[in-house]
Amino acid sequence: MKNRVLSLLLTGTMVVSLAACDGGNGNGGGQAGGGNEGGGNAEPTQEVTQETFTGTADEIEGGSSSELTDGKFAETRHITVEIYDRGNDGGSDPTNNMYTDYIKKGMLEDHNVEVEFVKVPRWTETDEINNLLAAGTAPDICLTYSYPTIQTYADMGGVIDLQDLVVDNKNDLPHLWDWLGQTNMYWDKSVQDGTLWALEGKRANNNRIVTFIRKDWLDTLGLEEPTTREEFYNCMVAFRDNADTLLGKDAKQMVPFSVSSDVGWRAALLIESFMDPDVTDKELYTLGFDDRKLTQNGTKEAIQLLNQWYNEDLMWKDFAIAESNTEDDMMKAGYVGAFMHNWDYPFRNGEDSINANLQRNVGPDAKFVAIDCWENSKGEYVKYCDSTAGDRKIFFPTTNDEPLASLLYLDWISDPEHIEYLQVGDEGVTHEKTADGAYTFMPATGDAIMNSGQNIDMTITCNGLHLSTDELTLASLANNYPPCDPEDVAKANEVACNGKKPTKNAKITSIEAETGMGEALNGKRDIIYDTCMSCKPEEFEANWEELMADYLSSGGQDIIDERTEKWEAQYGDKVNLD
């Protein structure tokens, strides 16, 4: 009897412990299909019902919901909202800080809606949101930079069509409509069937990319700030040849012009300066699937120039294999002479910003300043930049049971008063006011730390500083990067605004050839750029031809053809948009 009891006990223990194992070591076919199980749980496909809808919103009377009294739900509703986790050193908890508390409190008071934040890593957000969507556990309000991701899930019936929702509840969403306007509300609306899968968050500031150079190095060598490609090249050569003067015993670490493995982004201004100044909207669109200008005319010559510079030891040799933080660390340590990046990049992150680090590590004069030196064949300094739309997209997956409460959240977050508070915080904690009323920002501590510049992660409908008046915004913008010099920021802003050319929306919504191709083609694009930039000069031609042929035959040409065909179907002979 004793034996039987013992054996039963043993069996029981074994069953329990095995059940606790999660079978995580399956391989091959099993894993490739992983993450699909959620498919069965998701809600049924939403049928497209707006086939006949063709008019614009002007003709349509907005409605309001009967569920609300005084903007409030009778019973408390609960929604989940995606928030980026940037993993900053010493940042605040992205889901629980001074600003999330402000939002939670406000939403509960104004609309009786309980808000819960769900963090998603910023730098892998597309992968992460894919996983969440595939598992059916995505937040009610999702945010992504990748429209193809939304389109893919919309095609599978996984995304809510917002068209009727935003129109029917228009009267309950005054701030949202005011702030986003027709452009951003309807940017993603399909011309064909009137569906609207996503709302476009608005760029308060559509500055894109600027070139930065070490001012103190120029001064040491008695050089002027370069204003042409030629002068820039001469500066880089001077940096290289004077490495001993500039870096002393670290001369070996010298990188005159730093470009990471994302060449198309980190050399964008150079690449774009090789494009035809009179390029038509049609050409921009049909050759524009690749947002790094790979297939545009002129790019080959640009990369060939980079290849020449690379082989003259003007560029960073370890770019392809280095880990992601290495380059920033090199800039902070003072080894880098020039680079291109977001217009405010060296000023970001307060005490941990590149310029603040430089001053600590190298000396009080050490800093990066903005320069404008990429003239095109007409001598213009064009900055291709984005429209106010086309930035972050907000969408609701079909697992969202509270679309109205979610829209009210977007409305609340678009209220100018709320935007201003989220961006400036409390007086004496995150900012002080100057005599003329402009905000001076100061490094915050603890809960009041903003994990992203101007708290853009919180204000998902607004990217960039947006205060009650434009003057206040401009005056405060330059003060927004303590401890960096406001004048440097103002100059970078000025350079970024010089010659802006915003993207237009061709309103051709879905190109079938693009579906699911993004990852593969972007991967190939980076391989082309990286390989051709760093190969031996005599191999450039062969590499470029071979890799481009592979890119085009792997789907690139199909996309160009379909884009051309659809453009011509929609606009006929017209080559420029209004």
Binding site: L18, G29, G33, G40, N130, M156, I321, A322, E323, S534
Partner: protein, 321 residues
Amino acid sequence: MARARKQEVQKEKKPLTKEELWIYVKRYWQLYLLLLAPMLYFLIFKYSPMYYVLIAFKKYSIVQSVAEMPWAKNHGFEYFLKAFKNKDFINALRNTIFLNLLDIIVGFPVPIIFALLLNELRLKFFKKTVQTVAYMPHFLSWVIIYGLALQVFSPNTGLINMVIEKLGGETIHFLDDPNNWVKTYIGLGIWQSFGWNSIIYLAAISGISPELYEAASVDGANRFQKMWHITLPGIRPTIVVLLILALGNVLGSGFDRPYVLQNNLVMKNAEVISTFVYKYGIKGLQFSLTTAVGLFQSIANVFFLLLANWFSRKMGERGIM
């Protein structure tokens, strides 16, 4: 009782009758009950998920169950055809086989040789220390190994290249030249695993009867002869089993090792099936295509396993099934 004893003597010859089987089960039921638990584990966690392999033959949709999804074109084989028309997949397949074969050819003998050498050491303390140091890298994740590799191999600031440069030589691109990358990949793989893999050989060696060595000594065999004629044949069954398992995995590949080590400049040699599946499937959302690839990979692996097993039996070894 007598009958039972008689039955035990004969049980290998004659099949059991129903009645005898019952007695047998009744006597050992606890053992069967214990067996039930692992069987359930396999059914629930290994066999039932296989249902989702059907995705390879269907047009995947996130909101439908597997049964509801429509069949893919070409009698369900659309995605297999698509895969084999895809240059990137063919390239990944080629690289997978190439890298795995290299791993076997170069890497398989290393732990055997290491175990043989270790076995010859007299100083126990030294032997233990070497063994421990050798299998330590097994516990490092590939991310960390890559971090170490960068410090040692990177073209500008890596240790080796700095030495080479000081001596007046040319920089060697260990990590960002496609051909050198293969060598680095194989080398790092061996470095990480040879110590750990040698444990099983050491265990097999310790199972060899000391009498054989004594007899050989009496016959005047030297150490090398003993190693060649006693130790190696003694561990031959172990070697064969491990070789079969390795060959069975010639189309499989771990994910983290290639993924962590690859970069844009070496992709033509570094893309393998697992990273291809990740890129196209998880990141590119082509679930059906990549499930098809995964299924193909598994079936090909089984084929190689059976082939290797059949071959080893032909050679007079026992095989694994």
